[in-house]
Amino acid sequence: MRWIPFVLAAAVVPVFLGPGQLTVYVLLGLSAMAVVGLSLLMGYAGQVSLGQASFTAIGAYTAGLLAVHDVPPLLGLVVAPVAAALAAVVVGVPILRLRGHQLAFATLALQLILLSVLGDADWAGGAIGLQGLPYLSVFGFELNEDLHYAYLVLLGVVLTAVVASSLVRSRAGRGLRALATAPVAAEASGVPVGAYRLLVFAVSAAFAGLAGGIYAFFVGYLAPGSFPVLLSIEYVVMAVVGGLGSIAGAILGATLITLLVQALTSLATQPGMPGYAPGVLSYAVYAVLLIVIVLFVPRGVVPTLSRRFRRETSPGRPAPVDPAPARARPGAGR
């Protein structure tokens, strides 16, 4: 229950935020949800996905299309993660047999195909997208203020974190951890490797889909351009910075990157700064953080810090020697 103070703190914060800051809070939370999923996938299933934003898009368009066709928004929000998970199962069966760079390019290809299909699809509004989506309403109560969405997103983050941590502790989670450390031994001991990988893929897609569903109602319009490849890369940066396979790391990574980029953007939009400054600075920050963390803090920030903390608080024991550095297998547990 260590996380309860953090949730309480996160619940107090929105009260003190202005309108623009609340938007940042909501978008941060949505990223965190997608990144928790991606971090599970990359950390436990050892798969690099460059297409996580496609599941955000699927969730968002599912919720948006249902809302446009007068389905109650709450139902749309519930269906969004389900649709994303189903899509993940359908594409996951063939592509999860791929490893490493092959899966990276396959997921990237799937996202490019999805964006191109959405851009051509009249039923999805084409390149213009869906506009005038209603606010989310829950049993007659309409969520029409940013503050409402801040709490909805907080609820979403807690939900994904709880689901993710119970998945990690479940039989499937233990199996996957065994798999990351010793694939052959795990398979030989009867870990159903393929099924577990597919499960994690579907769950991670569902998280992104839920984030997409909330995004649709929060922003009120959707276009293929809302879910660029860069969004997928942004998710990867957040997951890698926080620490792959760490739920707290995913949330911290999303928070760090969002706040940093936000601070740089407000710096770059000061009078006197050139018009290209926000883009240049945010790309540079993503790039430098990603490279520095992968090369010098390969476990990510949270697992590295918690390991160091544990080492310092137990002075009697010598520091545990890691038999195989994590860099050799970024997917290994914590």
Binding site: V48, L50, P94, I95, R97, L98, R99, G100, H101, Q102, A104, F105, A106, L108, A109, L110, L112, I113, S116, V117, G119, D120, P183, V229, L230, I233, V236, V237, V240, Y276, G279, V280, L281, Y283, A284, Y286, A287, V288, L290, I291, V294, L295, P298, P325, R327, A328, R329, P330
Partner: protein, 279 residues
């Protein structure tokens, strides 16, 4: 019929550029086992450099060659960052090159802005086709043949091939494996830069064109499992021609899907057949 010939030549021209890009990926992958996601950025950076050099008054030819040399230097830098730190796995190096590709965005927007750019290629038409397409094909043929000779006939090329085949044994006979890896990045950078320089007169380039370029290059190279230069050329040409035919007789909006679907199909079929050895 005239239209068909036109589509074929256009497709071959564009396909050659994909093949060059894919060959760069192959050279780097064979020697270092790193899939270089920044391969498309080499092309974009070189192409944008040419626009600047031409504007500064450099003649055609010199501007293009300088840009390719710059791309080779950027290839070296990429190699240093992605593989310079001992113990970096190919998987981590892939993510590092992804980061370098994003870093290139910052540099490109800083110097060239975010609007599409282009520059004139070889003027004139032959049989109703821009002669620039023929130039692309000719340059590609010469360069790929020279690369093949480099690998097959020179000591340096043999050292590179030896490193690709068995890094441990290569080290045992005194080959500097790390230097060979960096050299592969230089060659890959030059090939990527050349692809960008050749294709930009017929396809505008934007700072984020690199994703489409690297995906097409990867699709071409994956036909040869990222290790076979000949199949990479075949894959690039196939891709270019099919895209030109789809664009000509069908709809241009399906052109990108062709490469992607082909790549996915090849990947999945291959994963099914060689599962035991890669798992």
């Amino acid at each position: 019929m005239a239209a068909l010939v036109q589509y074929l030549i256009t497709g071959i021209g564009v396909g050659c550029a994909y093949a060059l890009l894919g060959s760069g990926l192959v050279v780097i992958y064979r020697v270092t086992r790193v899939v270089n996601f920044a391969q498309g950025s080499f092309a974009v950076l070189a192409a944008l450099t040419v626009t600047t050099l031409l504007a500064a008054g450099l003649p055609h030819g010199l501007a293009e060659v300088s840009a390719v040399l710059l791309a080779a230097a950027i290839g070296l830098l990429t190699g240093l960052v992605a593989t310079g730190r001992p113990g970096t796995t190919p998987q981590s190096a892939l993510i590092v090159t992804l980061g370098l590709g994003v870093f290139a965005y910052a540099v490109e927007i800083l110097f060239w802005g975010d609007q599409p750019r282009s520059f004139p290629g070889l003027p004139g038409t032959v049989a109703g086709v821009q002669s620039h397409y023929l130039l692309i094909a000719a340059v590609t043929a010469v360069v790929l043949a020279a690369t093949a000779l480099l690998f097959a006939r020179t000591d340096l090329g043999r050292a590179l091939t030896a490193t690709a085949e068995d890094p441990y044994a290569a080290r045992a006979v005194g080959i500097d494996v790390r230097r060979m890896g960096l050299l592969a990045f230089v060659v890959g950078g030059a090939l990527g830069g050349l692809a960008g320089v050749l294709i930009t007169p017929v396809q505008q380039v934007t700072f984020d064109s690199d994703v489409a370029l690297v995906v097409n290059g990867f699709s071409a190279a994956i036909l040869g499992n990222l290790t076979r230069p000949g199949l990479t050329l075949a894959g690039g040409l196939l891709l270019g021609v099919v895209q030109a035919l789809v664009g000509g007789y069908g709809s241009t909006s399906y052109q990108t899907e062709v490469a992607l679907v082909l790549m996915l199909a090849v990947l999945i079929v291959r994963a099914g057949s060689t599962r035991a050895e890669t798992a």
